[in-house]
């Protein structure tokens, strides 16, 4: 694995992107921060932990899903992917580099929400470690979903619309900002298809906000592996 490439790519396309395109960072924080504000006001602060845990998952998920637009843009529009196909770089290096860059791009949001978590006594060190592990899995799974979407597209004209729709479905419809147990079980089963649902169920249980559901973590891991396999297939490295 070309670790140097992964580090430099995530530095250039993650960290420097924050500096050179701050509007994208603000845009990625706008929805979760607005929901945090609304939830805080409406619940009188009672549901704040959901807004904070949901917020951090939402930032990571939407940034990773937006990666579909980047991946499609790189493959179909500016042909950046092809440049690396005809080089010693492997597709796993390329995919890992993009995934790492989205994680890096999400860092300011993660730091903000983690800070809020500590300020409002929702997080401690152990919970932070668990949260970061879940964030890793979510980043990997949704970035691979992004590769699948990008690989299936023949042109890029709809990609921004598709990612916006998926982002809303994945972060608002699923029990990210609200307790998972208040929705009908059948509907919850349907929502389990999105990795953010088992992630939310696990974290809500682990943080003591809702009944603990042990099956959620294996589901999240299986979905992440399945998406990695599919992402690896659909990326269209050598067509």
């Amino acid at each position: 694995m070309n670790l140097r490439f992964i580090l430099i790519f995530s530095y250039n396309y993650g960290l420097k992107f924050i500096k050179r395109g701050p509007s994208y960072l603000i845009a990625s924080l706008a929805l979760p921060l607005s929901l945090l504000f609304l939830i805080f006001i409406i619940s009188g602060g009672r549901l704040l932990p959901y807004a904070i845990i949901g917020g951090v998952l939402s930032i990571v998920t939407s940034n990773a899903i937006n990666g579909a637009a980047d991946a499609a843009f790189f493959r179909l529009q500016i042909r950046f992917q092809d440049l690396f196909v005809a080089s010693p770089l492997t597709k796993m290096d390329y995919m890992t580099a993009l995934t790492a860059s989205y994680f890096v791009f999400s860092l300011p949001g993660i730091i903000l929400y983690v800070s809020l978590g500590f300020i409002f006594h929702i997080l401690n060190l152990l919970k932070l470690i668990v949260l970061i592990l879940v964030i890793f899995l979510i980043t990997i799974s949704f970035t691979n979903l992004a590769f699948i979407i990008a690989g299936l597209l023949k042109h890029i004209r709809n990609v921004w619309g598709i990612t916006a729709i998926l982002s809303i479905i994945a972060t608002v419809l699923t029990p990210t900002f609200y307790p998972y147990f208040i929705i009908p079980k059948n509907f919850l089963m349907v929502l389990l298809i999105s990795p953010i649902t088992p992630a939310s169920i696990f974290l809500q249980g682990y943080f003591g906000l809702a009944p603990y559901d042990a099956i959620s973590i294996p589901i999240l891991i299986i979905e992440t592996i399945a998406l990695m396999i599919m992402g690896n297939y659909f990326i269209k490295w050598r067509e």
């Binding site: 490439f5 420097k16 080089s87 770089l89």
Partner: protein, 278 residues
């Protein structure tokens, strides 16, 4: 040396390449042809981006399927319409690309700076690419080729969409490459400016090949005369009547209201199917 044998590529029912067999062993080879002639498909297969439907490709003694990883170490391909990433600078592109090829960060930085200096882009090395002109953006990729020091560089339509001055700038940059170059273009002028050998593609097949002089030999001592709705013609393109006549009859056609044009590589396409009078 590139050896291509019976190469075919099908997209559904469309035959993009129909059994291409050719050897390429020149410093700069241009592949010319109209849109849809199969140029890009051919170059994408040679540069390992696309799997052929059938046939074989051998690059410097290595098979494109069996030895793909070895081949990827000695080639570089700049795809058609490739654009740098807007927020990244030219130097960052070069560093990233060279690191992808296995360079260390310090080597990549040194070679990247050197290549940008060679192409007179030093003052733009830290400017985000979305602030550069079209020609400068293309030169970022040529700099990658220069810095990589690979054996073979594939350039797919390297100057498409550029203004004449930017094209000349890119040509000058391409001339600085030490690698063997295979480029596709539909600018005939580009092919004649840059290449030792020209391969002409039409409808997925190689229809002719040779030096520019070889290819234009049938047009020796001829001019192209053309007139809208002209009565005499060898070829009609829309309302434009085109005829190939000996130089010494140019005046005669001028007096009939025809325009007289010098022969260029364009005439290889215009004249297809025409029997030229000797």
């Amino acid at each position: 040396m590139i050896r291509v044998k019976d190469l075919t590529k099908k997209y559904g029912n469309i035959h993009a390449l129909k059994g291409v067999t050719i050897e390429i062993n020149d410093k700069v080879t241009s592949i010319i042809g109209r849109n849809g002639a199969g140029k890009t498909t051919f170059i994408r297969i040679l540069s390992t981006q696309l799997k052929p439907t059938s046939g074989s490709v051998n690059i410097n003694g290595m098979d494109i399927d069996r030895d793909i990883n070895k081949i990827r170490k000695i080639i570089l391909s700049i795809p058609q319409e490739a654009q740098p990433v807007g927020i990244m600078t030219p130097l960052e592109h070069l560093e990233l690309y060279l690191i992808a090829r296995g360079y260390s960060l310090s080597e990549a930085r040194r070679e990247g700076k050197y290549a940008l200096e060679e192409l007179e882009m030093e003052e733009f090395k830290d400017v985000p690419c979305d602030e550069l002109s079209g020609g400068m953006k293309r030169k970022v990729f040529v700099a990658m080729a220069l810095a990589s020091k690979v054996d073979i560089v594939f350039l797919d339509e390297p100057t498409t969409g550029l203004d004449p001055l930017s094209r000349m700038e890119v040509w000058n940059s391409i001339r600085k490459l030490d690698s063997n170059i295979i480029l596709t273009t539909h600018y005939m002028e580009e092919a004649s400016e840059l290449s030792n050998k020209v391969i002409v593609f039409n409808e997925g097949q190689v229809v002719s090949q040779g030096t520019v002089r070889d290819l234009l030999a049938p047009f020796k001592n001829k001019v192209r005369v053309e007139k809208t709705n002209g009565e005499e013609y060898d070829v009609k393109i829309g309302k434009l009547s085109i005829k190939y006549v000996p130089n010494d009859r140019a005046q005669e056609y001028l007096s009939k209201g025809y325009d007289v044009k010098n022969i260029t590589l364009d005439d290889l396409f215009i004249s297809r199917g025409v029997t030229l009078e000797s």
